[in-house]
């Protein structure tokens, strides 16, 4: 659905040149939810803006839904943009129009007749769950409601691709989740391809099938979300994965616990996919002469399976502890011994 080939974007200013996007190659399949994560300045915003021609690459080509967006101009580009819609961090609604009129705006651009517009707008309002707010102005809506209007507006012309430019970054966690659920719902119901950029791993974890990690204009890591969670390679990816799997204060807590339990071993377990749903701890206690103390744990759901981390303290005869850890290894669970007491 989307092919990005050898794309480079250089911004020239009087202070010199900045390579915002550097040698990026990417394929996004039809019906996929593809996430791009990176800190601000990583080039992800420039990258997504090249997908609908708001930015033109300096080198390389961008093809979306059969249109070479990096090349076409004028009315062809405008036509193509109706199939590649976009939602924004700050919603970008027209304050002078009501919810209904805002949604109708993209239909007006597409030249849809008034009668059909009214009908379609009503459908969309139902789809995004804004019944009863049709005649409100954006200033009377909450952030989440505004983004729902943005989504309805973006979906009005039955696009093939939806681009989300930090679409949840201005929302509180609860609203973020409801918007993400809406996006997944749309993806499943309409088979829409979604590309989103974000700096929150939570968003990637929750809805993306595949993820690309960007740093300094380059893609440093790419793969199915679960694989990236299971086995992050680049340093930046590890930090992003930690955002989700380990709460902020984990490291401190663990250091404290290691001091607290001078005997035995503190072990970090990483569960991926099916293994996350097995009764590992029960088996451990039944089969080995060890005591297991659960220190901290977290399990997260991704689009391709669940992923969890668990910190346990294993105590007992050194030999039994070693055997127990051996057993955990054999269960296809990631094991990392934090320290020997």
């Amino acid at each position: 659905m989307i092919t990005i080939k050898d794309v480079q974007k250089i911004f020239s200013s009087n202070k010199g040149q900045v390579k915002a996007v550097d040698e990026v190659n990417l394929e996004v399949k039809e019906g996929e939810i593809f996430g791009v994560i990176g800190y601000s300045g990583a080039g992800k915003s420039t990258l997504i803006r090249m997908l609908n021609g708001l930015e033109i690459p300096t080198h390389g080509s961008v093809t979306v839904a059969g249109n070479e967006v990096s090349k076409i101009k004028g009315s062809k580009l405008r036509k193509a943009r109706q199939e590649i819609s976009m939602i924004f961090q700050h919603f970008n609604l027209l304050w002078s129009r009501t919810v209904r009129e805002n949604i109708a705006f993209s239909l007006e651009i597409a030249g849809v007749s008034r009668q059909e517009r009214l009908k379609r707008v009503d459908e969309l309002i139902k789809l995004v769950g804004l019944e009863g707010r049709e005649d409100a102005y954006p200033s009377q809506l909450s952030g989440g409601q505004k983004q729902r209007v943005g989504i309805a507006r973006a979906l009005a012309n039955n696009p093939k691709v939806l681009l989300c430019d930090e679409a949840t970054s201005a929302l509180d966690p609860q609203t973020t989740d409801s918007i993400l659920e809406l996006l997944v719902d749309i993806n499943e119901r309409l088979g829409l391809t979604i590309v989103l950029i974000t700096h929150e791993m939570h968003v990637i974890r929750k809805i993306c099938h595949r993820v690309a990690v960007m740093e300094g204009g380059r893609i440093v890591e790419i793969g199915p979300v679960l694989d990236v969670f299971k086995n992050p390679k680049a340093g930046i990816t590890k930090r992003f994965v930690q955002q989700v799997t380990e709460p902020e204060e984990t490291k401190e807590t663990i250091d404290h616990l290691v001091d607290l339990y001078p005997k035995g071993k503190v072990v970090q377990l990483g569960f991926v996919g099916e293994s996350a749903e097995q009764p590992l701890i029960t088996n451990l206690i039944r089969h080995f002469q060890v005591t297991v103390n659960i220190l901290q744990g977290k399990i997260s759901q991704t689009q391709n399976g669940s992923y969890g981390t668990l910190f346990i303290h294993v105590d007992g005869e050194a030999e039994e502890v070693a055997k127990a850890i051996e057993y955990i290894h054999s269960q296809q669970v990631g094991v990392e011994v934090i320290s020997n007491a």
Binding site: L77, Q82, I84, N92, L94, W95, I109, Y137
Partner: protein
């Protein structure tokens, strides 16, 4: 009672002068609104980072606007006498005041339009582009409606300035309340005529401000 207070006021000529003033103001406000909006839009669209970015055209319009905005109105009228004569064949009467009024006020209003347009969130324009909007659609359905409260409050201020300008134009023969106050009031030392003309001008100004405020509040949904 009014006649007691102002024995020299001839009400029919006062009424005639009021109509003349209203006529000059109305026509010049409409023309200023259109011309100023066009100039303001051009200033905005050709500025850096916008749809028709063009430094040369932007500088030319900007220079034109600045020059005509800076000339004191009374001098502008005199300067434009040949132009007015060429255009209308005369330099006396209400119509003769119009070119100077419009050329004097439109650049002033154009700057206000530009400021109003600049206040529009860039993201909204980008959103319209991302939906495949043409430039004309962006102008008519995004730029103008989104800046409408600023455009209306700007034209209110300009209209009030224009009432003042018509009075000045009146002094050099354009008719209206300014003309009356000067010829009938000042030159014949009938201060009651001057005072009454002033009161009527004030009433006109208050009404303009009142209407402008109501429309602005009504339009502003932010």
């Amino acid at each position: 009672m009014l006649n007691e207070w102002s024995p020299n006021v001839k009400w029919d000529s006062m009424w005639e002068a009021t109509v003349e003033t209203l006529y000059m103001t109305t026509i010049s406000v409409i023309a200023t609104f259109i011309l100023g909006a066009i100039l303001g839009l051009l200033l905005f669209l050709t500025s850096k980072g916008n749809i028709w970015e063009n430094a040369a055209i932007n500088k030319i319009i900007s220079a034109f606007v600045n020059v005509f905005r800076s000339i004191p109105f009374i001098i502008l009228i005199v300067l434009l006498i040949p132009f007015t004569k060429f255009l209308l064949g005369t330099m006396i009467g209400e119509d003769a005041a119009l070119p100077a009024l419009i050329i004097g006020a439109a650049p002033f209003y154009a700057r206000m339009v530009e400021i109003g347009l600049r206040e529009i969130d860039k993201g909204v324009i980008e959103a319209a582009k991302s939906m495949g909007a043409k430039t004309s659609t962006i102008i008519w359905k995004v730029l103008l409606p989104e800046s409408m409260p600023a455009l209306v409050s700007g034209i209110t201020v300009t209209a009030i300035a224009l009432v003042g300008y018509t009075a000045m134009a009146g002094v050099i023969g354009a008719g209206g309340l300014g003309n009356l106050a000067y010829l009938e009031g000042f030159q014949r030392s009938r201060s009651d005529v001057t005072l009454m003309a002033t009161v009527i001008i004030l009433i006109i100004v208050f009404i303009i401000q009142f209407i402008g405020d109501i429309i602005t509040t009504k339009l502003d949904k932010r």
